[in-house]
């Protein structure tokens, strides 16, 4: 009997040592508290999509999604490098966010009603607008979607693209064979090796694969046009309003910074500006940060360490990919990026 009790106590003790308990304390929401205690933001990103999230040979991550992770880290922890990146496949990403493995999902995730309402997520404002696009090998001879009847199409499982092409082909009365592989590199590899004729994914991801992953980029053709609406946004778990607000307003801060002319280069000069918007943004007047649970300089750090939306876009989609901004431009330039009032 005694031995049993000691054994149980030992196991319980060992169990307690392995566990990360977060005591219920004061004003910080659970996610923000966990992030501060841990000292880094855990960010779920794509396994490898040029322009959005790609790790170079030294293991350093670059991309638009990556930059938003860094912006959140700069705002909450003060250092944009305090991020741990977890590459997630298209199927692993939702359970990873639901189970708490990552704090935020910056992983080319389209905002849909089901994902917002039924999966238990909340999404910040779209950081990138795109749509489903197709890339074919020129030797196939198809130049429009109508000529793709009967083709083998490589697509990610669990993605909106999967459903989009199913309904698109059904509406055109054409059949196709889906080849679904979760790993990004293997899927692109299957397309490049000829296992499938067409590669279907978010239009913005195709130029990168054509340039870097194809043996001869001229052999491939990206069919012009997008075949769906794919607004990509940052996802967080529902039930933590404060963390959701932080994500939302970090995104808006980057939009507004570009609109008001604040950039990495001039942010230190802009601190002395007279524009009331800029003064509120950079924490010179008022304390917007306190309302979010952050300090005054949260937006200043974002711009200083990462940049405004225009700079983020240029760094990742400028040369060599050279993707035109199109609707990803500010609303003042005819695009859809509209920063909400920060006051």
């Amino acid at each position: 009997m005694k031995t049993i009790i000691t054994a149980v106590a030992a196991v319980a003790f060992a169990g307690a040592m392995a566990v990360d308990t977060k005591s219920a304390m004061a004003a910080d929401g659970p996610t923000l508290k966990a992030v501060k205690a841990r000292g880094e933001v855990i960010c779920g990103v794509h396994q490898g999509r040029y322009g959005f999230a790609i790790a170079d040979s030294q293991g350093k991550w670059k991309g638009l999604d990556v930059d938003f992770c860094r912006a959140v880290a700069a705002a909450t922890l003060g250092d944009s490098e305090k991020v741990k990146y977890i590459p997630l496949g298209s199927v692993q990403r939702f359970p990873a966010l639901q189970s708490g493995e990552v704090d935020m999902l910056s992983r080319t995730t389209t905002i849909t009603l089901t994902r917002d309402a039924a999966l238990g997520f909340n999404f910040g404002p779209p950081t990138f607008y795109t749509g489903t696009g197709f890339m074919v090998r020129k030797s196939i001879g198809a130049t429009t979607v109508d000529q793709m009847g009967g083709a083998a199409i490589c697509v990610f499982p669990g993605s909106t693209t999967e459903k989009n092409i199913a309904s698109l082909f059904k509406s055109k009365g054409m059949k196709f064979t889906p080849v679904v592989i979760e790993s990004s590199k293997q899927l692109v590899g299957a397309y490049m090796s000829g296992r499938c004729d067409v590669l279907a994914m978010d239009q913005a991801g195709l130029p990168g694969h054509q340039q870097y992953d194809a043996k001869n980029p001229a052999d491939h053709l990206i069919i012009p046009g997008v075949y769906s609406k794919e607004p990509l946004g940052i996802g967080v778990r529902a039930g933590d309003d404060q963390w959701f607000d932080i994500i939302k307003w970090v995104t808006h801060a980057t939009f507004n910074a570009e609109e008001w002319g604040v950039s990495k280069a001039n942010v230190d000069k802009m601190v002395k500006s007279n524009d009331p918007n800029v003064k509120r943004l950079l924490g010179v007047s008022g304390d917007l940060g306190k309302k979010l649970g952050l300090d005054k300089q949260w937006a200043y750090r974002i711009i200083k360490q990462v940049g405004n939306y225009g700079e983020i876009y240029e760094t990742n989609w400028g040369p060599p990919l050279n993707l035109a901004r199109g609707i990803n431009n500010l609303w003042t330039n005819g695009g859809l990026m509209y920063g909400f009032p920060m006051k």
């Binding site: 308990t21 692993q92 708490g100 590199k185």
Partner: protein, 370 residues
């Protein structure tokens, strides 16, 4: 008269001398050509091997490229490209563990393998030796891998990968799973219907589902079972899932061993006044475990191979690391050599353990009369 020599009698049982005088030819006649069917099979197999084997040896040994660039491997007419192993063996073996700290992993591996070798020797089969040995082993290895103290840089579990991660998973599975297996086996043989049915339901339901679903539960569903704010490390959850799976299979083997103990042993122990746990610990379990040791080792080998299933949930054991590494477009086409390298590592470990299990079987059978 010295007629003391025994006369040589010719009996009907003398055999004629063997036809071949040369031992090699005699062996071939007895083993390869001993019947018409066998001769035909030998000829077919022999021809097949004569055609295939030299090509294979050329490809793998003589024409192969042992070091250098991938360009050297793409030259026409070369054989296996072992250069891919030379180039990529560090990410394959150690995953994303920081490069400068690999020495820690190598030291930990050496210590660990030595302790395993010691554990398998019967000389060390005393609780007083084994328990401190393993406690010390785990402490030293975990400290080396984790760091954070004694001037070693701290390295988070999410960066552990490759062969050390395989070993960690394997150790966790066996160390946590074995006590659970013993308890489940005893529970299943209990006379109390309540305990017996709980154990039966537990064992049968977990043996009936694939390991993949258990890993899914551990990674996706298990966090939902915990109250808000409580978080378990992913590695720990996966290890717990694999340990439970291992325990259910091992429990059946142990149950087989328990069934082989004659009832008389238990009755005698009870007559001596031993309590249940004493009787189990001192009389039944030592005998039962010795009897089913080969079966136990089989499942331990299976546990080692099952660590490769973490490929599906994204933990970087040696197979996952190799798959990730082989996605490099430049080296991708040499996947055969890379997979052969990994297969060789698994083969060495598992084959050694299975030879050990055969050795144990022989030790056991030597002490018995049929």
């Amino acid at each position: 008269m010295n007629e003391t020599a025994t006369p040589v009698t010719k009996t009907r049982h003398t055999e004629p001398p063997p036809i071949e005088k040369v031992p090699a030819l005699r062996w071939m006649r007895e083993n390869l050509f001993n019947s018409p069917l066998n001769s035909m099979i030998t000829v077919i197999l022999g021809l097949g091997l004569v055609f295939a084997l030299p090509d294979f040896i050329n490809w793998s040994l003589f024409n192969s490229v042992w070091s250098g660039d991938h360009e050297a491997c793409r030259v026409d007419g070369v054989g296996a490209c072992w250069a891919v192993v030379g180039e990529k063996h560090r990410p394959m073996l150690f995953g994303v563990y920081p490069y400068e700290e690999h020495w820690r992993l190598i030291v930990a591996l050496i210590i660990y393998l030595s302790v395993i070798a010691a554990t398998l020797t019967p000389m060390f089969w005393k609780i007083k030796i084994l328990v401190p040995l393993w406690v010390g082993n785990l402490a030293v290895c975990l400290t080396l891998m984790w760091g954070g103290i004694l001037g070693l840089a701290p390295i988070d579990t999410s960066q552990w990968g490759g062969l050390p991660l395989t070993m960690v998973l394997f150790t966790g599975t066996v160390v946590f799973g074995s006590p659970l297996a013993v308890l489940l086996a005893l529970g299943r043989r209990s006379h109390l219907p309540g305990i017996k049915s709980v154990c039966v339901v537990f064992i049968e339901s977990l043996r009936g589902v694939p390991l993949i679903t258990i890993l899914f539960v551990a990674v996706n569903v298990f966090p939902l079972f915990l109250p808000e704010g409580l978080e378990f490390d992913k590695l720990l959850r996966v290890m717990a899932g694999m340990a439970i799976f291992f325990a259910c299979y091992q429990a059946e083997v142990i149950r087989g061993g328990l069934q082989a103990i004659p009832r008389g042993q238990i009755e005698a122990a009870e007559a001596l006044g031993l309590g249940y746990w004493q009787l189990m610990r001192r009389i039944v379990l030592p005998q039962a475990l010795r009897i089913c040791l080969p079966g136990l080792v089989n499942h331990i080998i299976a546990a080692f191979k099952n660590t490769s299933f973490v490929l599906i949930i994204g933990l970087f054991d040696i197979l996952t690391a190799t798959t990730a590494v082989m996605e490099d477009p430049v080296w991708r086409i040499f996947f055969v050599e890379a997979y052969l390298f990994v297969a060789l590592i698994y083969f060495c470990f598992c084959f050694a353990l299975s030879k050990y299990s055969q050795l144990v079987e022989r030790w056991l059978s030597e002490g018995r009369r049929f």
